[in-house]
Amino acid sequence: MADTGLQLRDVRIATGGRRLIDGLSAHVLPGDVLSVMGPSGTGKSTLLAAITGTLQPAFTLTGEIFLNGRDLRPLRPQHRDVGILFQDHLLFPHLSVSENLAFGLHPKTKDRKTRIAEALADIDLAEFADRDPATLSGGQRARVALMRMLLAAPKALLLDEPFSRLDAALRDKMREMVFTRARDLGLPVLMVTHDLADADAAGGQVIELG
């Protein structure tokens, strides 16, 4: 089907006369990973902001962004069903681990407690429900952040250099975990990174910016 997945058509982003993204087109099919590479300052994060809908007004955006045939641009960020993971994992520091997971769960979800317990067990953190996120290790945080995002049932996943803060051994494990789960859920994934190994592990198309 032509309109499933994440489609970017001739996306251009400029600010103050400077062109950051100049006519980017791509189609990420469900389960595929698109790696966007380039040195810092080339507008990788800006591209992600355009997709999540959090672009600052100083930027002008033209072109089309469609997710599963739905035009994202008129939608508010919270209605776009686009998930995102950052390099710092950004667990909400004032909430416990299970409260972090519960944040993205739809309010009408039945058996919220069970769902969260299952999710915790799924990432081998069953005992950590009431823990302070600040006491988790880097790998544990990364897993909680991923699971929190997935519980919100996104229809696409954006990755903003998600593995760069992890040490080498963990990095491989996390890549594997993220890409496998995205593929299993049939999520189109757009990853920005400056690490070629990330793109290699993803194994999909690669676009160079800048």
Binding site: L55, P74, R80, G83, H94, L95, F103, G104, D132
Partner: protein
């Protein structure tokens, strides 16, 4: 962008309401001052342009001295406070000693000017605590010497008092501005180039810090030139500061004296403008001199550096001790029985002063804190609204907005508050607490904004993106993520607002017609009688009322988040 249309969600109106609340009373007050100064609003009707008021002002004995005193006091005290805080930060930032001094100084920020001044007066007087501690064993004084220390015609005790009180403020403002100037890296470079710590810091870091410090410095300068409350306690009386002279005219039963008061209020504004202009010239001169020194290759290393660091630490410790010592003196006097010179301590401790004033102090404290809480809470809601509107618009407030914010802090209170009183009367709003609340808001709002804006803007916006990606609306992000994560900063801003409200003297007096006694107005009324026991009790209560919100602001997040290290560290 659909999420960037704050007007749709109603947030856009908040900045407008806030600006109206800030500028409305100020503008009205200015009109109420300008008209009588040029022959308008005459008692018993009549009018027409006239310069009579100015002639009367010019004929006042000692007017030139008064004006010069005001300028001199403001300029020297501001320079002194910057000098001390600069030497301390430059010489000691990042060290353990700096932490200790910073922790001693920060709570002093909340100490109202009036209590600090009264405490200092008791410390420094020839019959004061310092003299008592050294007499007669060291000084040989059986009776206090006839030394002109307090209220000296040169205004030096006033200058010392202002320096002690403003140093903590400028120090904290400097610290707030510091991260953007990347002090550690720059200092490293300077040290590697052979500069002394202090010199290196002044050359490499300070210019960036000062750029952000400018408006707070102007507020301190304007206050130094035009304040009434500290000048009443420590300032000279032969003649007094211009501001005190204006208050005297304003409260004279002779109606005709309101016109010279208004004219002098404008003169006071002129003095502030001259002070600011001189300051700007000095800024430019310092820049030029600094560059010249840089070209000559001044390094200021080794002994000079040690000397500068020593002076900075000594003076800031002295400033802290002066205020703290004054507070301890207040407490001691409030429990003192007979206490004559040169006894270092009272003959006995008694509860009589508290038994006598306790009930009234409790009543007035309750009213004061309720008013302060209301003003600070309203200000907090408006400020959060402004900052959230700014966030959702994706545009940070410009220079104009900042100037509006600082307007009530730089414009002398004694210039526009009397005019404001006339306005309040004419709208029939002369009674009760509402006008006082509005008058307090004018001064509380800027400080709450300045206190919260930094942490609010520094909050990692990726949390908001993440929240939206987790299907949360902007409102849910605000209530469930941003505000809970900023709890400490929000409470601190509330505490700052309350402390500012608690310390207001002129706005309370003029907007309530004296019907709303607060701890500050009562403390100053009691102070005029010179009963040190009563002053001690009221000043102690006033300090406690100003400090208590800060204690809560520090403790509450620690209790709430005792198990959430990430919030407290962040």
């Amino acid at each position: 962008m659909p999420n960037n249309t704050p007007s749709k969600t109603g947030w856009g109106i908040v900045p407008l309401v806030t600006i109206a609340l800030l500028l409305g009373p100020v503008t009205a007050g200015m009109i109420g001052t300008i008209l009588p100064a040029f022959g308008g609003l005459r008692p018993g009707g009549g009018g027409g342009f006239s310069l009579q008021a100015w002639r009367e002002v010019a004929a006042t004995p000692g007017l030139g001295t008064s004006a010069w005193l005001s300028l001199k006091t403001g300029l020297i005290s501001t320079f002194g406070a910057i000098f001390i805080s600069l030497l301390l930060v430059a010489g000691w930032h990042g060290t353990r000693a700096f932490r200790a001094v910073e922790q001693a100084l920060s709570p002093l920020l909340a100490v109202p000017h009036v209590t600090a001044a009264l405490g200092l007066a008791f410390l420094m007087a020839p019959s004061g605590w310092l003299a008592r501690l050294g007499s007669p064993w060291a000084t040989g004084w059986q009776r206090p010497p006839d030394l002109l220390i307090l209220q000296d015609p040169g205004g030096w005790s006033l200058i010392a008092g202002l320096i002690a009180k403003e140093t903590p403020f400028l120090l904290l403002m400097m610290l707030a501005a510091l991260p953007q100037a990347r002090p550690a890296e720059r200092l490293q470079v300077a040290l590697a180039a052979g500069y002394g710590r202090v010199t290196g810091w002044i050359f490499a870091v300070f210019p960036n810090v000062y750029a952000q410090l400018r408006l707070p410095v102007y507020a301190v300068l304007a206050y130094g030139i035009s304040n009434v409350d500290v000048a009443l306690v420590l300032g000279p009386s032969t003649p007094s500061m211009l501001s005190v002279q204006i208050l005297r005219w304003m409260s004279d039963p002779d109606l005709a004296l309101r016109a010279p008061a208004a004219a002098a209020a404008l003169l006071q504004l002129g003095l502030v403008i001259i002070g600011l202009a001189l300051w700007r010239l000095a800024e430019a001169a310092c820049g030029t001199i600094g560059r010249r020194l840089l070209w000559r290759g001044i390094r200021g290393a080794n002994r000079r550096d040690d000397l500068a660091r020593g002076i900075g630490l000594t003076l800031s410790i002295a400033a802290a001790l002066a205020v703290i010592g004054g507070l301890v003196g207040h407490l001691l006097w409030s429990f003192a029985g007979r206490w004559r010179f040169p006894d270092a301590l009272p003959e006995s401790l008694r509860l009589r002063t508290w038994a006598r004033h306790g009930q009234e102090i409790i009543d007035v404290s309750a009213g004061t804190l309720a008013l302060a809480f209301a003003a600070a809470l309203i200000a907090l809601v408006l400020v959060i609204g402004c900052l959230e509107a700014e966030h959702r618009r994706g545009r940070v407030m410009g220079r104009g907005g900042l100037l509006v914010l600082y307007m009530p802090l730089i414009l002398p209170q004694i210039t526009f508050l009397p005019g404001l009183q006339i306005l309040l009367l004419q709208t029939g709003a002369s009674m009760g607490w509402l006008p006082v609340l509005i008058a307090h808001l004018v001064f509380v709002l800027p400080y709450v904004f300045l206190s919260l804006a930094g942490p609010y803007r520094a909050w990692d916006a990726r949390y908001a993106t993440l929240g939206a990606a987790l299907n949360a609306s902007p409102d849910r992000v605000l209530w469930q993520l941003r505000l809970p994560m900023l709890l400490g900063s929000v409470l601190t801003a509330l505490a700052v607002g309350m402390a500012v409200s608690v310390g207001q003297f002129l706005p309370t007096l003029l907007a309530s017609g004296g019907r709303l006694p607060t701890l500050t107005t009562e403390a100053l009324a009691i102070a005029s009688g010179g009963d040190r026991r009563a002053i001690g009790a009221w000043a102690a209560a006033l300090t406690l009322a100003a400090l208590m919100p800060f204690v809560i602001a520090v403790l509450l997040p620690r209790v709430t988040y005792r198990n959430r290290r990430g919030v407290l560290d962040g």
